[in-house]
Amino acid sequence: MSSESLSPSRLANYATCPRLYDYRYVQDVNTPDRTELYLNQGTIYHETIEDVCDATDRGDDPETIHNRAMRIFDAKWDEHSIPDDYESAAHQEYQRAENRAAIASFFDPDGGDGIEHARYSVATECWVECEVDGRKLHGKADNVVRTDDGLHIFDYKRNTDGVLSSGTAEYLGEHLDGEAHEPKRVRNAFQTATYVEGVKNEPFYEDGMTVRFSFYGLLNSTSFESSSDGYEVSARGYPRETTGIYHEHRAAIWALIRDAHDGITGEAYEPEPFELITEEACPDCDYREMCADRLSPEVRR
């Protein structure tokens, strides 16, 4: 067992495919440039929310918070959005409109979730660490919000499609048993575990506090309205909480973490279970074109 501290993201990569982890983190093979459009958009809304939360006091009125958010968004967009990421100016403008609509709705003075997230934010971009069963984990929480009876950690995402839910939580155990391949939901579980446990080591945590964790999809619902003058987009976000799932499936989640952690520290990179990985992970893998494990059965045929 090693004392190496690992992030949920690394663990999840390993859970996706040990060989993928080998290529990405051990051998550090560069993948061809992909469009960074969604990455940059992520930076924009993350930084917008962070800055708004940091600048907001509990007593700020909703209108002020909203205006602040829109101002920060515009500046962040100018800072991080790169025209070369887009094939056309129209495409960039469309994406701007969509993201702006999401921010506008999140910080809607009339009941937008972001108003409370900003007012009660205890920490943003909060580095957390924990150690369970001798395995060290770390991560960075987007926003920690003070609630009546404790803390609520938020991870902001574009949307929560495919995120771990009560209906899909049973797949965690199946992944553990090698019966299913669910790396995305496993990653969500790793994140939940890391943040829920990690935040307890923070100075603002007090004994007896209830800790909750949610993913928040800022663009969970979008619409496109067309008229003779052009188009209009709107967007709306909502959270998906995974705290309950974490508590209910705690044993399986920590077994998964132990497996991945030990695999990484033990440098075991053979892709297992091979058939599942070939079927589920290989098609979208950045390294599929170079992977000897994937190529060999095809050559053999």
Binding site: T31, Y86, E87, A90, H91, S227, S228, E289
Partner: protein, 1154 residues
């Protein structure tokens, strides 16, 4: 040809001397009537007839060849027509203007660029250039209903770029300009004014027609009618509003018809089924959730939907038209004309005053495949015709390109209208398919509604045959089953030929798998892979093979040196670097390619391999920016010899990539390798899916592999065996297309938008596609399909019937539109002798397929043996081979299987020579067709400095043959033929040397002799063995003696005393000529010439050679890998890295020293 080669290239022009036209064809050829239309069924020799008619005009009617214009669709077809005419008429044949419909436009526009107002240096835009322009004009699109996303959420193809590309394609093919669309649509406000109309119609229906009885609904109908009339009268009378107005008018008619029927019911004069009262509300779209209970779900008649899809197409068009206009401007600015633009510009030019002058260049216009022409091409043809001298052939039953703009009526009604004096000649006698196949084709096409002309195909001169002709295979019941596992044994059985049902064993190249859509091919390709059945996929079907992936990765790595994934792929798959060395390269923080170039070799476990990779990468990166794409690709394949690492199958797949690269290389200035090219490679299939399926390109056909292609690509081809998979209603159902109604209203007037049911039209086309598939088969047609049970309740059927009865004629949509019970139709049309192979040839193999391999005292099937070899190799790599296993030998000589007949070997002089030299090399090259060993390409070179001796020889031989056929006697005429052949096959490099051969030939006496025969094919049967070949030439000497001459363009001298090649030819002559031929010799036209050496061979000489040859062929019947002879010849052997060759010749990959 010489003994150096006994191949006869398929494109080679063969004068069809032996073939006489059949009476039907003769009538057409001799007739003076013009204009004439020949509706020719499949396999009736329509192109043959057309070529003969052109010959007739030149030979018999003294028409000057350059006054004749012949148009066809593919370059292959135009070339083959030219070659055929040339073979028959000599150079006069080349004076006939044989063009494709597009190349004639290119020609005319180049000649009349000034008059057409274009730059004479224009280029035809490639697909890649078109896409680049589309990306550049994206910001010109006026985004309202079109989302600006370029990369759509459902994949690349749904983004704005592909929407614009397909919109431009649809509009341009129908000669619809951006201005036309602007005029039709008007302002955005006007179009948006109609956006809610479909919903308003639905609201009218749901507000008024909710009555629960016929009488209450009847009471409401006048009100509905009134509101519809009010909506209608509120609309303008031109453009988009006229179309919408027309649609509402049709609905008003519908109300009237419903009223009549319901009134009749109320009066007791008409029975109506239960639930009929729901019909009006349903038809007008008043139910929010589709058909209510009692109305069949598959009725498909919610009529407001048609207006809805028309309006949303118009909304999209309103946005895209500005992009289309910008695209046109960009083309113009870059001095490019796209494929469709060629015809548009030419048609416009023909309409101008200079049009007449252009048309006067030709007296006769011949058109092939006329059913595939689009509206523009029709106008072009009619404008080229003077004095009605038009000859048109085509087959309306084979019109399968309507979906991409072809106008089927061109060959029927449009021609009737354009040429009052048109006469019709039929061609129905088929020379291709067995009669049962034709019976099925005839019967099945009868199901086609609206079929204009009725042809019945009849086979003539059907050869004897003893086997099944039409076989059906019923798909398994399982819904998910694609039935691929049924067709695998079918192909295996066809290839083995053991089953009683079969007349003979078929080569894989005799078999074609013709698919309706790409998805049908994929599972079968997997089965072929597993079974080791060789296949070749034609251009428009995408494949993904490991070897091609490696070549692509190399290109990617060169284009983006920071792409380490691609470098890793190349290092692993081409240079076979071991894991440790790859890790060493990846470990460094620098770019992998820099580490590869800089790390000291001693740090690697296998430094030789790393060194080779380093050298290649450095060389290729050095030339990357200066070399054109195709040059770089050539350098890549030459330097790295990467093809050697590919399987035979992968080499076939590679042809596709080469096609794409070739396309990029067509422009005057070839682009260098760029990341953009790599991107376009990745998206090529999804973007140009449609582009690949044009009637203008025809695939190359493999003769040693099962040909897999779409039915569209198979047009004009034929195969002894045709397999058509997944013939079911669902799989063959046409899908509706965007812009149908818009396109129709722009082409034929606003009221054409709703005058026909486009889905029904596409259903008809699907039947014709099926007809094309059936008629490709010569001997055996295997159809695989199935039907689903109808589950409609009886009373719902009666609703259907009622609707059918009530719908007024102005409603073009019928109940259950677009349903195509294809398999039920097939079963209904099957001739009596059709057989069901489901439980026979489709369920298992007969006899022993694939052979066995003996190892370690076990008899293994091929699959198991393959695994065993790999296991042994792995064990060897890991150092785990036990000494005992090491001694075991794999008995590969039994690969063909003890009980399967030996492959039918056809011998030639060359193959016999190879056998005499070394039985093993013969076995590898002629029996199992093994691929050659790895060769270090830089070490081998031909004496001709890059030009192969063989290429020169072939060029000279072919020139001599054509010269003989055309009775051309002067050296400059030989030169002319030689130059033309060289340019045709891009063999310009070989031309100077070939001309020297011609010079030497004319120094000989031979040119003064009478030439009797050239390139004469023969087939000798000796003791049950087949020996084939070609005799270069037979001359008659001034002494009236026949002499066989074999041309030698090589440097090798032959000793006539021990020669066996010439006696074989003389033996063959016994069957070819009435008079005895006893003299034969070699004419040396290469460097060691010019000279002729001949001798007379006596009967005894010939008998001795015959005995020798027979003995040889008998021995070859027991061919094996086991026997070999080493010697001088090993240096030329393609397999000299085997241990049998003397050590000096064996150079393995990775060990070559330079």
């Amino acid at each position: 040809m010489s003994g150096d080669s006994d191949e006869y290239p398929s494109w080679y022009p063969v004068p069809e001397e032996g073939v006489s036209p059949e009476p039907q064809q003769e009538t057409i050829i001799d007739s003076d009537a013009y204009p004439v239309r020949v509706l020719a069924g499949a396999g009736t020799g329509k192109t043959f007839t057309m070529v003969r008619k052109i010959e007739h005009l030149i030979d018999e009617e003294d028409v000057s060849p350059d006054r004749i214009l012949a148009l066809t669709f593919t370059n292959n077809a135009a070339d083959s027509m030219r070659e055929k005419l040339n073979a028959k008429l000599g150079t006069a044949g080349y004076d006939v203007d044989a063009y494709t419909y597009h190349s004639i436009c290119n020609e005319i526009l180049t000649d009349y660029a000034y008059e057409a107002g274009i730059d004479p240096d224009f280029e035809v835009a490639t697909d890649a250039e078109k896409y680049a322009i589309v990306l550049d004009v994206l910001d010109d699109i006026e985004y309202r209903s079109v989302k600006p996303n370029v990369y759509g959420s459902d994949g690349y193809a749904s983004g704005a770029a592909s929407k614009l590309l397909s919109f431009i394609g649809s509009m341009k093919r129908s000669d619809i300009s951006p201005g036309d669309i602007d005029g039709f649509l008007g302002s955005a406000d006007r179009v948006y004014g109609l956006a809610d109309l479909p919903e308003r119609v639905e609201t009218i229906a749901s507000d008024h027609l909710g009555g629960r009885s016929v009488s209450s609904v009847l009471d409401s109908l006048p009100e509905v009618r009134g509101e519809l009339v009010a909506e209608r009268d509120g609309l303008g009378t031109d453009g988009i509003e006229a179309s919408a107005r027309d649609f509402l008018g049709r609905l008003v008619d519908l109300c009237d018809a419903l009223e009549v029927a319901f009134e009749a019911h109320e009066a007791g004069n008409q029975e109506l089924p239960d639930n009929s009262y729901k019909l009006p509300k349903y038809l007008l779209g008043g139910y929010a959730n589709g058909a209510p209970k009692g109305i069949p779900g598959d009725l498909g008649l919610e009529l407001a939907d048609h207006l809805d899809s028309f309006v949303s197409d118009c909304l999209a068009a309103r946005d895209l038209t500005a992009g289309y206009a910008a695209y046109e401007r960009e083309l113009d600015e870059r001095n490019l004309i796209d494929f469709d633009g060629l015809v548009v510009e030419t048609a416009a030019l023909m309409d101008s005053p200079v049009g007449e002058e252009i048309a006067e260049r030709w007296d006769y216009v011949f058109c092939d495949e006329f059913q595939d022409t689009d509206r523009l091409q029709f106008d072009l043809v009619t404008s080229l015709v003077t004095d009605d001298n038009l000859f048109v052939v085509g087959d309306d039953d084979q019109a399968i390109y309507e979906w991409r703009g072809a106008h089927v009526a061109n060959i029927t009604d449009e021609l009737d209208q354009a040429f009052a004096a048109l006469t019709d000649e039929p061609l129905e006698e088929n020379f291709r398919s067995r009669q049962p196949i034709l019976d099925l084709a005839n019967e099945a096409i009868q199901k086609l509604d609206h079929r204009e002309r009725h042809k019945t195909l009849k086979r003539v001169d059907e050869p004897a045959y003893d086997g099944d002709t039409i076989a059906t295979v019923e798909l398994p019941d399982d819904d998910d089953a694609d039935g691929a596992s049924q067709l695998r044994p079918v192909v295996e059985n066809l290839v083995s030929g053991d089953a009683e049902n079969l007349d003979e064993a078929y080569d894989p190249g005799d078999i074609a798998l013709l698919v309706r859509k790409h998805a049908h091919a994929t599972p079968l390709i997997d089965e072929f892979e597993d079974a080791g059945i060789p296949y070749q996929v034609a251009g428009d079907l995408a494949t993904e093979s490991v070897g091609v992936g490696t070549v692509t990765a190399y290109l990617k790595a060169l284009a983006r040196p920071e792409d380490e994934v691609s470098w890793n792929r190349v290092l692993l798959m081409r240079y076979r670097l071991c894991d440790a060395d790859i890790r060493t390269l990846n470990a460094d923080d620098d770019r992998l390619v820099d580490t590869l170039r800089e790390t000291p070799l001693e740090e690697f476990e296998e430094p030789d391999r790393v060194a080779e990779a380093r050298e290649h990468a450095t060389e290729l990166l050095d030339i990357r920016d200066s070399a054109s794409l195709s040059h770089l690709y050539r350098e890549l394949t030459d330097r790295t010899n990467i093809e050697w690492y590919l399987s035979e199958q992968e080499r076939r797949d590679l042809a596709q990539l080469e096609d794409v690269i070739g396309q990029y290389g067509e422009g005057a200035v070839q682009p260098p390798l760029t990341p953009e090219f790599i991107d376009s490679l990745e998206h090529y299939d999804s973007l140009f899916d449609e582009g690949g399926t044009t009637p203008t390109s025809q695939p190359d056909v493999a003769d040693d592999a099962v040909n897999v292609m779409t039915i569209h690509k198979s047009k004009g081809l034929d195969f002894p065996v045709v397999l058509v998979p997944q013939v079911t209603a669902d799989e063959w159902a046409p899908s509706s297309r965007t812009y149908d109604a818009l396109e129709a209203s722009l082409s034929d007037g606003a009221e054409a938008a709703f005058a026909q049911d486009f889905v029904e039209r596409d259903t008809r086309e699907t039947r014709r596609v099926f007809h094309v598939a059936i008629t490709r088969a010569e001997d055996i047609l295997v159809l695989q399909g199935g039907s689903e049970e109808g589950d409609d309740a009886v009373d719902e059927d009666s609703v259907s019937e009622l609707v059918d009865e009530i719908l007024p004629s102005r409603i073009p949509w019928q109940p259950e539109r677009g349903q195509l019970p294809l398999w039920a139709d097939v079963l209904g049309c099957l001739p009596d002798d059709a057989v069901d192979w489901t439980d026979t040839l489709a369920s298992g193999t007969v006899g022993h397929i694939g052979g066995t391999v003996n190892h370690d005292g076990e008899e293994l099937a091929v699959d198991a043996a393959r695994d065993r070899v790999i296991d042994l190799a792995t064990a060897s790599l890991n150092g785990n081979l036990s000494p005992r296993t090491e001694r075991e030998t794999l008995q590969v000589s039994s690969l063909n299987g003890p009980s399967t007949p030996a492959p039918s070997l056809s011998h030639s002089y060359t193959s016999l020579t190879a056998y005499e030299e070394c039985p093993r090399s013969h076995y590898l090259d002629y029996v199992v067709n093994a691929f050659p060993d790895y060769q270090d390409t830089t070490a081998t070179s031909d004496s001709g400095g890059g030009v192969s001796q063989r290429e020169i020889g072939v060029l000279f031989h072919d020139t001599a043959e054509q010269a003989a056929n055309q009775a051309v006697e002067r050296p400059e005429q030989w030169y002319e033929i030689c130059e033309r052949l060289a340019s045709h096959r891009r063999a310009a490099d070989a031309l100077p040397a070939a001309k020297q051969c011609i010079d030497r030939y004319f120094e000989l006496d031979l040119p003064s002799y009478e030439i009797i025969d050239a390139e004469r094919e023969f087939e000798l049967n000796i003791d049950g063995h087949e020996l084939v070949g070609y005799i270069d030439a037979v001359y008659r000497t001034p002494d009236d003696e026949l002499v066989v001459i074999d041309y030698k363009a090589t440097e090798r001298h032959r000793d006539l005393e021990g020669d066996t090649q010439l006696p074989i030819y003389l033996l063959a002559c016994r069957g070819l000529y009435d008079e005895p031929v006893a003299r034969a010799g070699y004419a040396y036209v290469g460097d060691i010439g010019p000279k002729v050496e001949t001798r007379t061979f006596r009967g005894g000489d010939l008998a001795a050679v015959r005995d020798d040859v027979t003995a040889s062929m008998n021995r070859i019947a027991e061919f094996s890998f086991g026997r070999y002879a080493a010697g001088e010849h090993c240096q030329w052997c393609q397999h000299n890295q085997l241990p049998c060759a003397p050590g000096t010749f064996t150079v393995g990959p990775g060990f070559n020293e330079r």
